[in-house]
């Protein structure tokens, strides 16, 4: 997994890539929580995630809960089919705001 953070229109865009499993989830968790701590809205781009399991999902749920506690938003962008399958399985597709692409996320469109 590699990742990148950039700022777009005052939001932090985090791109996670590759396989997010028990080996890589701690790295993703640190990155996501660091972003949430900056008290900006966080958009997590999952378009290049080829595999995610319950440990990766747990990192995102924790980050979402931190964001809500801080009064900011954390949403998902361009979720890959493999990742979407896992979110749907856990019924978390109804918990996270999921946008088809970055433009839609910035416009607040589902």
């Amino acid at each position: 997994m590699s990742e990148a953070v950039r700022e777009v229109n005052g939001n932090l865009v985090v791109s996670l890539t590759g396989e997010i499993d028990l080996d890589r989830a701690p790295e993703a968790r640190r990155l996501l929580l660091d972003c949430v701590k900056r008290s900006k809205d966080v958009l997590v781009d999952l378009s290049a995630v080829t595999y995610i399991d319950s440990s990766g999902i747990a990192s995102l749920v924790e980050a979402l809960q931190w964001a809500k506690q801080r009064g900011t938003d954390l949403c998902l962008v361009a979720v890959s089919p493999q990742a979407l399958r896992v979110f749907e399985l856990a019924r978390l597709d109804k918990v996270f705001a999921i946008h088809p692409d970055l433009d839609a996320a910035l416009a607040g469109e589902n």
Partner: protein, 149 residues
């Protein structure tokens, strides 16, 4: 998850793997499971589900049976018969109480605890018990092949 006496099914052996319960070995193991699922005729969606179920089962072993020590072995047997792929994950940790492998309620929005839920919902059968030799915990799962293929 059904608690059962684990028996060896009538099936053809495809792979018999032994690897350490370390997180940095799981990508390699998933690649082998992916190949076996494709060999059995599963499409990409079915293959993904099988790989995820095995990954979650091994993750449970790493975290709970061996408590993250990384020094215990995991055995993974992959078999097939005409109808199904059968995957059996064995560890040699302490006996696990059946209540410890029950899925949690999804309405509890909290990080973690989804692995067993995933396994149960991705596979057609899941049986958990002690190995036939009495040593080790065994999770045996199966998924039906697509009859149109």
């Amino acid at each position: 998850m059904k608690i059962a006496a684990i028996t060896t099914p009538e099936a053809e052996y495809l792979l018999e793997l032994r690897f350490p319960a370390r997180t940095d070995r799981m990508a390699m193991v998933r690649d082998l499971v992916r190949s076996a699922a494709r060999f059995c005729g599963f499409d990409e969606a079915g293959t993904h589900d099988i790989v995820l179920a095995v990954g979650e089962a091994c993750q449970n072993v790493i975290l709970h049976a061996y408590e993250g020590r990384g020094d215990g072995p995991i055995l993974l047997d992959i078999l097939q018969n005409a109808d199904s792929i059968i995957l059996r994950v064995t560890d040699f940790g302490p006996a696990v109480a059946p209540t410890a492998v029950q899925p949690r309620a999804l309405r509890d929005l909290r990080p973690g605890g989804l692995g067993t839920y995933f396994i149960q919902n991705l596979m057609d059968t899941t049986d958990f018990g002690r190995s036939p030799s009495g040593v080790g915990n065994v999770l045996q799962m199966s998924k039906k092949k697509d009859p149109s293929k």
